[in-house]
């Protein structure tokens, strides 16, 4: 996004949050100092000033560049894929052409959708659980020095290791039910939320905290009115990573143990050498993943409109 920085703002050191929100203004309108000498109210607040729009043609060209170009590249890629696969007569089980994947997709669409239900629901459940757990744990670790010293290194440790390797252990310990998959996916997803929420809860400017202390605000007030809202952008950046990780967690768990789900379908299809079905399932997974991500982004928009 393009930001316009007013010449005046450049003089003062600003925190990032403020810097982000400088766009609205270019010339600081300074009200005269002595109230009695104030001229009649100036029209219109500076905030409503619009950025001058580009000539229409350039706008279209930019739109074309940003949307049609990628689409054309993908289209070209599919075309080359189709042509090459057909030309070299690659076996369907190795690499089916896009047209065949499409046919297969329409054939098995109801089955795919049916299998997608548990995968999606488990992903959502894990993501929600990870968000709640992550925010609560981050809050505890931020407020308690002792808990922080005790657990933060462990969290960093788990953040760094390949957690996927632990998936079979969840089967051993929790079983092969939906609960096991949700727990594993929650475990996968919650570290980035903890870490980013902790960063966010520390993002409140010190002077703001001093002001609160000076007003004898209690910790609950400081948390709900100041620190948590300041953390919102950070929390969402953690959540955007988490939603992807939750889906990975569910699919991996389904690979290992599941009677149903798209992960299960992929494993099943590969045992049948039905490569087109695998690719169709992956396509659907991509769509679900993008939708869930989109929902989080939408939620972020809504919340930052309130707390941005």
């Amino acid at each position: 996004m393009k930001r316009v920085t007013a010449p005046m703002q450049q003089v003062q050191p600003m925190n990032v949050r403020e810097a982000e929100s400088q766009e609205a203004e270019s010339k600081p309108r300074l009200a005269p100092v002595a109230p009695q000498a104030r001229p009649p109210a100036e029209p219109g607040p500076i905030a409503v000033r619009k950025r001058r729009s580009r000539p229409a043609l350039a706008g279209y060209r930019q739109l074309a560049e940003r949307i049609f170009l990628p689409i054309m590249v993908v289209g070209l890629f599919l075309l080359v894929w189709e042509v090459l696969v057909k030309h070299f007569q690659v076996p369907l089980s190795l690499l089916p052409p896009p047209s065949y994947i499409y046919t297969r997709l329409t054939e098995v669409w109801p089955v795919l959708l049916d299998q997608a239900v548990p995968t999606t629901l488990e992903t959502i459940a894990s993501f929600v659980a990870a968000s709640i757990l992550g925010i609560v744990l981050a809050t505890l670790l931020t407020y308690s020095r002792l808990l922080n010293s005790a657990f933060y290194p462990i969290i960093v440790f788990f953040q760094l290791i390949p957690k996927i390797a632990l998936a079979p252990l969840f089967v051993v310990w929790v079983g092969i039910g939906a609960q096991s998959r949700i727990e594993f996916a929650t475990f996968m997803a919650f570290f980035p939320i903890v870490v980013s929420t902790m960063t966010g809860l520390r993002a409140t400017p010190t002077d703001m905290l001093r002001l609160c202390k000076g007003l004898t605000a209690n910790s609950w007030q400081v948390f709900t009115l100041v620190r948590l809202p300041y953390a919102v952008p950070h929390i969402f950046s953690g959540m955007k990573i988490a939603v992807t990780l939750a889906m990975i967690g569910v699919i991996v768990a389904e690979f290992i143990s599941a009677p149903k789900g798209l992960g299960y379908l992929i494993v099943f299809a590969s045992s049948q050498a039905d490569t087109a079905l695998i690719l169709a399932a992956i396509l659907l997974l991509c769509m679900i993943g993008l939708t869930l991500y989109g929902v989080v982004v939408l939620l972020e928009r809504l919340v930052t409109r309130r707390y941005g």
Binding site: A6, M8, Q9, V11, Q12, P13, M14, N15, R17, E18, S21, Q22, E23, A24, E25, P28, R29, L30, A31, P32, V33, A34, P35, R38, A41, P45, I46, A47, P205, D207, M208, R210, L211, C212, K213, G214, L215, T216, A217, Q221, L225, V226, P229, R306, Y307, G308
Partner: protein
């Protein structure tokens, strides 16, 4: 006039991983009711620490601070605080930011709304009460912070380099604005600043702090009567006072330098 604040032999030692740091060392002065006092000094000399102790935000390590016959032991909402950055809540409108102290103290909002609007009008932000801070310039945001500090009508206002983040022109305007505010709402004021001219224009007294030892080394009365006309800055007397203060500050620096040479020499002597 009676004393509002009495600072007596106050020291502050911060315990840091690399050893104790003495931020303020035996500072003593007092501030009368309704007096406006500026504290001048180089950065890092302990001005903010001193203010924080007066506001009850930091404990004193040694000495005592008395406010109106009671020892200062902690923060109290009847001290208005203004910092270098406006520190407004970015997601809250200007009027809600001004009313933030009311919200924290759980007082009825409608008792203060009229006053909030009056204050905003006084600083020339009447039409901006529904704006978000991001839609305002730095100077306007600092005006909002001033309104917020005044909303509870505190008898004491403390400002830590409130205009340092502003450009020179805005800063001059803010100085005049503050002079005007003081005419309308007389109260005790403590202003920490780097600017000698700002200190002389606004204050009844100027204290100068030095580094090493971080303490108040001189105390100068500014004789201009109130209400003050901002044009006093053009007078010879104003410039004389500024030069005098500059002299004190430079001699403070010189003492600092001497100390440094002396301790360096001592260090050399002990290693030999």
């Amino acid at each position: 006039m009676s004393k509002h604040l009495d600072v007596w032999k106050v020291s502050k030692i911060y315990e840091t991983p690399s050893g104790p740091v003495e931020a303020v060392s035996e500072a003593s002065f007092s501030i009368r009711e309704g007096e406006f006092v500026s504290i001048l000094g180089p950065s890092g000399c302990g001005k903010s620490t001193l203010m924080m102790m007066m506001a009850g935000l930091e404990d004193v390590s040694e000495g005592v601070i008395i406010e109106r016959d009671k020892e200062v032991t902690g923060p109290r909402p009847d001290v208005g605080l203004i910092f270098q950055e406006a520190t407004l809540l970015p997601w809250v409108s200007v009027i809600d930011n001004v009313l933030f102290p009311v919200r924290i103290l759980k007082r009825p909002r409608r008792d203060y709304e009229a006053r909030a609007h009056e204050l905003l009008e006084m600083v020339g932000l009447k039409d901006f009460h529904q704006h978000r801070p991001a839609q305002l310039s730095g100077g306007m945001r600092q005006r909002v912070a001033i309104c917020r500090a005044l909303i509870l009508d505190p008898p004491l206002l403390m400002m830590d380099e409130p205009f340092s983040a502003l450009d020179a022109i805005t800063r001059d305007e803010m100085n005049v604005a503050l002079l005007d505010i003081w005419q309308r709402h007389p109260k005790t004021g403590v202003l920490i600043t780097h600017s000698i001219r700002e200190a002389v224009l606004l204050s009844d007294r100027v204290l100068v702090m030095t580094r090493r030892p971080s303490t108040v080394v001189c105390d100068i009365s500014i004789p201009f009567e109130r209400p003050r006309d901002p044009r006093i800055v053009e007078s010879a007397e104003f410039n004389r006072l500024c030069n005098q203060l500059r002299g004190y500050i430079e001699s403070g620096y010189a003492a600092d330098q001497n100390n440094r040479y002396r301790s360096a020499a001592a260090a050399v002597a002990t290693t030999e």
